[in-house]
Symmetry: C2
Subunit: 265 residues, 2 copies
């Protein structure tokens, strides 16, 4: 039965887009990642990608995350969802081109949130796609929300939700750094990469980094870790690897040793 | 309450793509239709579009409609769904550009069929999008199928399904002819356009055109009519208008008089 447990691969928006740009996809990276996913040839794979410079600036401009406040936001919601489907289209293009049997599953078509948290995930089609050995590809998206009217649903929340629901064998987080550090490696030459962190160690570090002045140190990584904690608590290991470096995600998918941080219970 | 009954607009694949080509979108037509939909400014509108030269040739090449028979078809299913999302992306691009609060709802993410007929339509998100006054846009798509493994779901079937489920006030079918004729207008100069057909008249004509030699006469229109019959029977009028002619769909949306065929109980 363990073969049936899916691996969930998250591809960060900062890996496949240029976060400094606007709607700036890194098509050569998307292409390389498609090649790695095809080569790894993992059965029971679910892919989730982020929004990067597609979803985030558009959602931000229209205040989508905070919910429906005035009529004019409707077009902003429409636009935010649309640009996310455009980014997803680029990913799907590369995946299909590399003969991955990948089928996009649109979160806003089957998820309802409540105050930003997944309340209802209508997953009959997703389950059947998995049973048929397709590789479902989801992404951070806009959603209708029972309390807020609408909001933004992060790819990270989808990852943990699916990992818990389908009892994933592991989660791979492809990000744009080498993993979790004890300081900001961009400014501190002595920053040390954590190779492995237990749940207890994570909680200790979390407390340390929760100080307002230190929130940037991890490049927003601790929000991500926070979202992943319930999966780690459930015993699902999380590998955080650098998706910008060739073959790191391939190695993580096939179980080969690769630099990064492993979170585990 | 009647204001809450949606109008369902079907935009035929033959209107927005060149059916002779391969993945050949008529972007200028898509743009004009977006302009017409924006100008008509109908509340409670649901749009469904067909696959034209995107979905059909790809599905055909991989035998998707007939269901899963061998592993190699998986990539064909993935490709067919992908090209449909590409066509949908072009439609959404034009709609959002024209400030229509349009949100794509991906059929394969929320529909399961059985022998090609809709068995389960998980519509919680769709319903909330309608309640929030968005314009949902669906399309002919691949679906997972409880009997066939997978298949193709036509936009026409989606139209009737939604019309019955949400008790539509009317259905507008934008096609590439002026309506239903008593002969093929392309070859018979005396072909006469039906302006209005009752259910009884439709059944009479259907019998006449059901003869194998005559199936081409209507350009496949009678398959479409067949799919729509349950809606007409329920009392939902259907306007068949030429979406290739400027302002026809606009007039149909706003209730202005326009050439075409009306089907009614």
């Amino acid at each position: 039965m363990s073969e049936n447990k899916p691996i969930i691969l998250k591809i960060g928006g900062s890996v496949i887009t240029d976060k400094e740009g606007d709607l700036a996809a890194k098509t050569e990276v998307i292409n390389r990642l498609a090649e790695e996913v095809a080569k790894a040839n993992v059965k029971n794979l679910i892919v989730v990608h982020g929004g990067g410079s597609f979803g985030h600036p558009t959602a931000e401009r229209h205040g989508i995350k905070d919910g429906f406040k005035q009529d004019g936001q409707r077009i902003g919601f429409a636009e935010t969802h649309h640009v996310m489907t455009v980014l997803n289209g680029l990913v799907m293009d590369a995946f299909v081109w590399h003969e991955i049997p990948a089928v996009s599953v649109t979160p806003s078509s089957c998820v309802i949130t409540e105050n930003g948290r997944i309340k209802q995930f209508e997953d009959a089609a997703l389950r059947m796609l998995m049973k048929m050995q397709f590789t479902p590809v989801l992404y951070g998206d806009t959603t209708v929300d029972e309390k807020l009217g609408f909001t933004v649903l992060s790819g990270d929340q989808i990852v943990t939700y699916l990992a818990l629901k389908f009892n994933a064998s592991k989660i791979i987080m492809g990000v744009d750094t080498d993993g979790l550090y004890n300081a900001d490696p961009k400014t501190d030459k002595n920053a040390k990469l954590y190779q492995r962190l237990t749940l207890k160690e994570l909680f200790d570090i979390k407390g340390k980094f929760a100080k307002p002045t230190a929130t940037d140190v991890t490049g927003g990584m601790f929000g991500k870790v926070n979202e992943l904690l319930p999966a780690v608590e459930k015993g699902i290991p999380v590998s955080i690897v650098n998706g910008c470096k060739p073959n790191y995600i391939y190695c993580a998918l096939t179980g080969e040793k690769v630099e990064g941080t492993i979170l585990e219970k």
